[in-house]
C-alpha cells in the first residue's frame, strides 16, 4: 500500500547529477534512512528527521556514562566512534543517522591547554616552499577506505553520513585565516596551489566514498563569520566554485554542505553546483525561516537548535525552540532537524535529549501546530 508520497519532482532530484531520488514509499513504517532520504529530496516523510553531522566524544561519554578521561582534540581528523558506539549514541539521542568522519591533515602549530586538550593554532604554510611539508594520505589506496567501507556496510536502518572537510577550510587553517586572506592579493599562486592540493585529494575521496554504502556526503568548508562571507562572493565564485563543480561530478549521493556563519551570498552558487542540503543555518548569523522561504524548494534545510539553549538552557526551553522550528520549517518537507552546529563537549545531555522527545510529540507529518 502506498503512503501517498509520490516520486520526487523536487529540484534536488534534478540538480544532483546521478542521484535518483525516486522515493515511492510503499511501506507503512519508515526506517531512519528512508525518512532522511525523503527529506533530502524535498518531501515530507512520516515525521521530521533528526540528524547530527558531528558529535564530540566527550559529550557522548557524558551522555552514556562512559568512564574515560575527558579529552578533546579539536583537529578532529579521525572518526570519534566505532560502529557500535555510533549506533549506541544515535539510538540514545533518537537520531536518524550515524556518521563516519575522516578529515585531511592540516598544517598548524597546535597548543595544549592545562587539561590536555589540543587546539589548532597558527598556520604553518606561509610560502611556496612550505607546500613541501604537505603529505596527505594516499586517497587511491583501498586500505584508506577499509574502515569506512565496513562502517557503511553495517549501517543497518540508519542513514550513513560520510563527513569530511572540503579543500577551502584546510587551506585556510593551514595558512592561517589572516595570511590566507592577505595572500589573495599578495600571493594568489600560493593560495591556488594549496587549494589544488586539498581539492584534488577531495575529488578522489568523493568518488571513492560514493562507491561505498554511504547515503549522504557531508562536506564542511567554513568560510563565513557571523555577518557574512570572509571574502567576496566574486572570489568565492572564481576561486572555489570551479573546485566544487569538479567535486560535484564525482558525487553520486546527496551532498550536504556545512559552513558556520552567514553564507547567504553563496547559496545560489552552492545550489548551482549541486548541493542538496545546507547545514547548520547558524542561529544569530542567518534566519532559517527566510532561508526556508527563499530556498525551501531548492534545498533541504538542516538546522538549527540554539547551542546556547543546549549548553545552558533547560529541556523546556529546548522543547519550545524545537516546536517552533517544526511549526515554521517542517511543513512541506525538505527539512532535517539538527543542532545549530554539532554536539559539543559542553552541551547538557538532558537538553539534547529534549530534541528527539519534542519531535516525537510534535514532529509527525502532517504538522499540526498552531
Amino acid at each position: 500500500m502506498e503512503s501517498g508520497i509520490s516520486g520526487s519532482t523536487h529540484p534536488i532530484g534534478q540538480i544532483n547529477a546521478g542521484v535518483a531520488h525516486q522515493w515511492r514509499i510503499k511501506m507503512e513504517k519508515w526506517n531512519n534512512r528512508e525518512r532522511v532520504m525523503a527529506a533530502l529530496s524535498g518531501q515530507e516523510p512520516d515525521r521530521v528527521p533528526y540528524c547530527e553531522l558531528n558529535i564530540d566524544r566527550v559529550f557522548a561519554a557524558k551522555l552514556l556514562g562512559w568512564d574515560e578521561k575527558p579529552y578533546v582534540n579539536a583537529l578532529d581528523e579521525d572518526t570519534p566512534f566505532t560502529l557500535e558506539e555510533a549506533k549506541k549514541v544515535s539510538t540514545t539521542l533518537g537520531l536518524d543517522n550515524i556518521f563516519y568522519l575522516r578529515r585531511q591533515p592540516v598544517y598548524v602549530n597546535t597548543f595544549v591547554d592545562e587539561e590536555g586538550r589540543i587546539f589548532p593554532g597558527t598556520g604553518k604554510i606561509k610560502t611556496q616552499s612550505d607546500l613541501a611539508m604537505i603529505d596527505l594520505p594516499d586517497p587511491h589506496r583501498d586500505e584508506f577506505y577499509a574502515e569506512a567501507e565496513s562502517f557503511a556496510r553495517q549501517k543497518g536502518e540508519y542513514a550513513a553520513f560520510f563527513l569530511t572537510r572540503g579543500g577551502l577550510a584546510p587551506a585556510m587553517l593551514s595558512m592561517g585565516i589572516d595570511h590566507f586572506c592577505l595572500s589573495l592579493y599578495d600571493d594568489l599562486k600560493l593560495v591556488e596551489q594549496l587549494l589544488d592540493i586539498y581539492f584534488g585529494w577531495m575529488e578522489v575521496v568523493a568518488e571513492k566514498v560514493c562507491q561505498l554504502d554511504f547515503d549522504v556526503f557531508c562536506m564542511a568548508d567554513d568560510f563565513a563569520f557571523n555577518t557574512g562571507l570572509m571574502f567576496s562572493p566574486d572570489t568565492f565564485k572564481q576561486l572555489i566554485v570551479p573546485h566544487y563543480r569538479r567535486i560535484a561530478e564525482k558525487i553520486t549521493i546527496p551532498w550536504v554542505f556545512h559552513s558556520d556563519g552567514n553564507i547567504q551570498k553563496s547559496i545560489d552558487m552552492l545550489i548551482a553546483v549541486g548541493v542538496a542540503g545546507i547545514h547548520p543555518i547558524e542561529k544569530g548569523a542567518m534566519d532559517i525561516r527566510k532561508v526556508k522561504k527563499d530556498y525551501g524548494d531548492k534545498l533541504c534545510i538542516f538546522g538549527n537548535v540554539d547551542l546556547v539553549l543546549l549548553g545552558s538552557g533547560s529541556p523546556e526551553e529546548v522543547e519550545k525552540e524545537v516546536l517552533e522550528l517544526i511549526r515554521d520549517i517542517a511543513p512541506g518537507g525538505g527539512y532535517i532537524l539538527t543542532s545549530g552546529n554539532s554536539l559539543a563537549d559542553y552541551l547538557k545531555p538532558e537538553c539534547v535529549l529534549a530534541i528527539s522527545k519534542t519531535i516525537a510529540k510534535y514532529g509527525s507529518y502532517p504538522i499540526k501546530i498552531d
Binding site: A74, F111, D113, R117, F119, I177, D178, C181, L182, L184, Y185, F225, N226, T227, G228, L229, M230, F231, S232, T235, D260, K265, E282, G284, A285, L307, V308, G311, S312, A344, Y346
Partner: protein, 199 residues
C-alpha cells in the same frame, strides 16, 4: 583605501616632504580612511582581505610617521586591552578586531587567548586602558566575561574602563545583562563603537 601599503608609504613620505604635519596626516588621511573601511565592511561591501590590507597599510604609514611624533604628540586614539576569555582558545575574531583597532589608530595590548579573570584585571591596573575588549566563542566561556566585570568592580576599576564584548554567541542582550558597555557584532563595528564612545 585600496589597502596598497606601498602606495600609502609613498603618499605619506610625499605628504611629509610637502610639509604636512604628522598629526594632520593621521587625522585627515589615516583615520578617515579607516572609518570608511569600517563602514564598508559593516555594510558588506568589502570583506576581511580588504579590511586586513587597509589595516596593514595604515600600520606601515604609522611607522613612517612615528619618528616625527614627539613628546605628548605621540598619542593614539586610545589604549585597548583585548583578549579571549579563560577556557576559550579561539583567536581569529579577536585578532581581526585587534588588527582593525590598530589600523584605526588605537594602541592595542593583546593578552592572547585563554586569559583568566585576574589577568584581565591586572592588565587594566597596569595599562590603564580606556577600553577592555573580551572575546568568547563558546556559550560556556561567555560567563567569564561577567566574572571579569565583577572583579573589576571589586577592585574599584570598573569606572576607569569601558568594557566591550564580542564573539559568535554574544549579543546585545547578553552584553546588557552582564553590565558591559558595548557589544560589537564584527571587527569593523567594534572599532567604530569605540570611536563613538570616545566622543
Amino acid at each position: 583605501m585600496s589597502g596598497e601599503q606601498h602606495t600609502v608609504e609613498e603618499l605619506t613620505s610625499q605628504a611629509i616632504k610637502q610639509g604636512a604635519a604628522a598629526e594632520q596626516i593621521i587625522q585627515d588621511s589615516f583615520i578617515s580612511a579607516m572609518r570608511i573601511v569600517g563602514e564598508k565592511f559593516g555594510a558588506g561591501e568589502i570583506y576581511i582581505p580588504e579590511m586586513l590590507r587597509a589595516a596593514r597599510a595604515m600600520k606601515c604609514g604609522m611607522e613612517i610617521l612615528r619618528p616625527l611624533l614627539v613628546g605628548d604628540k605621540v598619542r593614539t586614539l586610545a589604549k585597548v586591552v583585548i583578549g579571549t576569555v579563560k577556557g576559550d582558545m579561539h583567536d581569529i575574531g579577536k585578532n581581526l578586531v585587534a588588527m582593525m583597532l590598530e589600523g584605526s589608530g588605537f594602541e592595542v595590548v593583546d593578552l592572547g587567548i585563554d586569559v583568566p579573570v585576574n589577568k584581565f584585571v591586572d592588565a587594566v591596573k597596569q595599562y590603564r586602558p580606556r577600553f577592555l575588549a573580551m572575546s568568547a566563542l563558546l556559550t560556556t566561556t561567555m560567563a567569564q566575561m561577567k566574572m571579569v566585570i565583577e572583579e573589576l568592580e571589586a577592585a574599584g576599576l570598573r569606572q576607569t574602563v569601558n568594557v566591550l564584548v564580542g564573539g559568535a554567541p554574544v549579543n546585545q542582550v547578553f552584553a546588557d545583562e552582564i553590565g558591559a558597555d558595548g557589544f560589537g557584532v564584527n571587527a569593523g563595528q567594534a572599532a567604530e563603537l569605540m570611536k563613538t564612545m570616545l566622543n
